[in-house]
Symmetry: C2
Subunit: 331 residues, 2 copies
DNA sequence: CTAGGCAATGTTTACGTAAACATCCACTGG
DNA sequence: CCAGTGGATGTTTACGTAAACATTGCCTAG
């Protein structure tokens, strides 16, 4: 910076002003400084900047293995949105979703060059970890159940599940079976609750719940079971991958989709339009989730507010494709 | 730090030594300092550290939209591997893969708290961007063609494609059709070249190449075409998504897989085991690619070497599933 | 014609850390 | 008994920046 100042014939402070786009610099001077910067290949040192300003202009994102499409898309949206606000994004991967690992990530956080944190993770892993959160670091949680202690941004899981079930009921199905996600997941839990609630509201009896683990393989196993249920004409799968496995099992067992059984998924992964048949599913707006996470955490930083427990829900959208139809009325 | 020093009754330098695990501190003193740190909730300020040390312990990863599964898995491996070496990972998303955007990302890089960069991107976008690379920042490129100017780590595209084609020939097919990726992609190009080369080597005539754009939708369109080719008994799709679309089209047209047509994909995405039928595909070891990227860039930093043009290939593995079989000999 | 004001620019300082150097002290060997 | 040695700890300083304050000089109103 000093070199630039000397070459431009000004003080280093003026260079700083130009570099930060501050007012109070003549157009001439500014041009001269810029020229000097270019000539010397000057780049501001972000460490010194951060030291001086007391902030890093960086957001940390804690997530374990970018396994699910949703998390990835959310991460991507966070990165893009953060960039728009002049923030960089640092990734804090947690290899195994155990309490210890999460605690470890949180304590490493303190030494990390990060102003705030966005957690993409089921919240129950967070509870015991709170203690080690460095003070002054704001947190927003995505993809999680509302805790009273965190600001949460999430897809409207319940609304999406309700739409899925209603769609099937509207088509004329007597009831809807549910292929749920793993027990430990709040997202799975909320989708299942909404499924049950919607059926009950409509005066239908919820059939026994079938459980998977989000994987296509588990959907396949569930499908083999469901294929043998003669009563089953409509299934709401808690995600698209399980729906994929389900479709394969039904096909193998000679059950037609949607002729014999209608299937609805959840997520709208890009491939779902090319399933056999193309899958009716609930579209999630991950880009919006990511955007809201960033804005939430930034606004928390600014006002230094401590409003815990705010939950923002991002609406979903039903995407109708070929895997759902009215039941055959043969009885 | 000064507070900790005072509480522990030592100098700040001793605190620094403890904080960095340096020798020359009595066990007693160390314990006292650690206690003081805990009591005051001391966390080293990474900005000051970086300023003093002249390095950030951070790697930048440039990638545009985490669209493909491969890039995501690579990114994840990079993050994990970097963490093991005590490095953090900062994400530099490029919204649109245009020259301008890439150049922009590279120039922003200079102001970013990053010691080295890993680029996950087709290299042709890099060529014109080189100029703005800040000096002293090492680069490793993943998922790209070898340039003489960069260190490249990539999956052995050619080897994988060769294995795919050979597998089909070994099963007894006369020749193999190829559903290629977009023209602009070097990965697609190399897979196509290896496909053609392997056929020629084996004395077969390569059928006309069919082109897609990586998406399942494009695979579907290609599949409609191929379903009408009576000669076609085996297809090698350049990725699993296109294979998925292909399977749907073939199914719709009443062509059995693998009865009438065998299909091989590329990538081994998790869903491919649940396709209809389960897809034979080429497994890529993205974790290894990520690991090698990190180690490559770190070793470049250490030796300050300037060995350009090194290319490391990570081997692939053929995963046999139900979508491939011997052709029916009815002629 | 001059005091006052304001815009443009310069000077000083502190941010938190770790390297380099300085000091202290206990112990060893002659 | 003392010089020498080496380990433990303390002191000084610089890293590059931007905030706070200081200075300069020009313009305008009275």
């Amino acid at each position: 910076m000093a070199d630039v100042a000397q070459l431009a014939g000004v003080s280093s402070q003026t260079v700083s002003r130009v570099s930060n786009g501050f007012p109070g610099v003549t157009e001439d001077t500014r041009a001269q400084v810029l020229a000097a910067m270019r000539e010397l290949g000057y780049r501001p040192n972000s460490a010194a900047r951060a030291l001086r300003r007391g902030e890093f202009r960086t957001l940390g994102v804690i997530t374990f293995s970018l396994s699910t499409m949703g998390n990835i898309r959310t991460l991507e949206a966070i990165a893009t949105s953060a960039a728009e606000h002049g923030y960089a994004v640092t990734l804090l991967p947690v290899a195994v979703p155990t309490q210890d690992e999460v605690n470890g990530a949180f304590s490493r956080l303190g030494e990390l060059a990060v102003d705030a944190v966005i957690v993409i993770m089921e919240i129950h892993l967070l509870d015991a970890a709170t203690v080690s959160l460095p003070p002054g670091v704001q947190v927003v949680v995505a993809d999680s159940d509302a805790g009273d202690r965190y600001t949460v941004v999430d897809t409207d899981q319940a609304g999406g599940a309700r739409d899925a079930v209603r769609h099937l009921l509207d088509l004329g199905h007597d009831t809807v079976w549910h292929l749920a996600g793993p027990e430990g997941s709040f997202a799975a839990q909320r989708r299942a609750n909404a499924w049950r609630g919607t059926l009950t509201e409509a005066g239908r009896t919820p059939p026994p719940l079938v459980r998977g683990d989000w994987s296509a393989e588990s959907g396949y196993r569930a499908g083999l079971l469901l294929a043998d249920e003669p009563e089953c004409t409509a299934v709401f799968a808690a995600n698209d991958q399980m729906a994929l496995g389900l479709l394969r099992a039904l096909h193998e067992r000679g059950r037609r989709v949607p002729g014999d059984i209608s299937v609805v998924g959840f997520d709208d992964i890009p491939e779902s339009a090319s399933f056999l048949p193309p899958l009716t599913t609930i579209h999630q707006d991950f880009a919006e989730v990511g955007r809201l996470c960033v804005e939430g955490v930034l606004s928390k930083m600014r006002r230094d507010g401590v409003e815990h427990g705010t939950t923002t829900l991002v609406p979903t959208r039903l995407v109708r494709r070929a895997s759902t139809a009215a039941p055959r009325r043969e009885r």
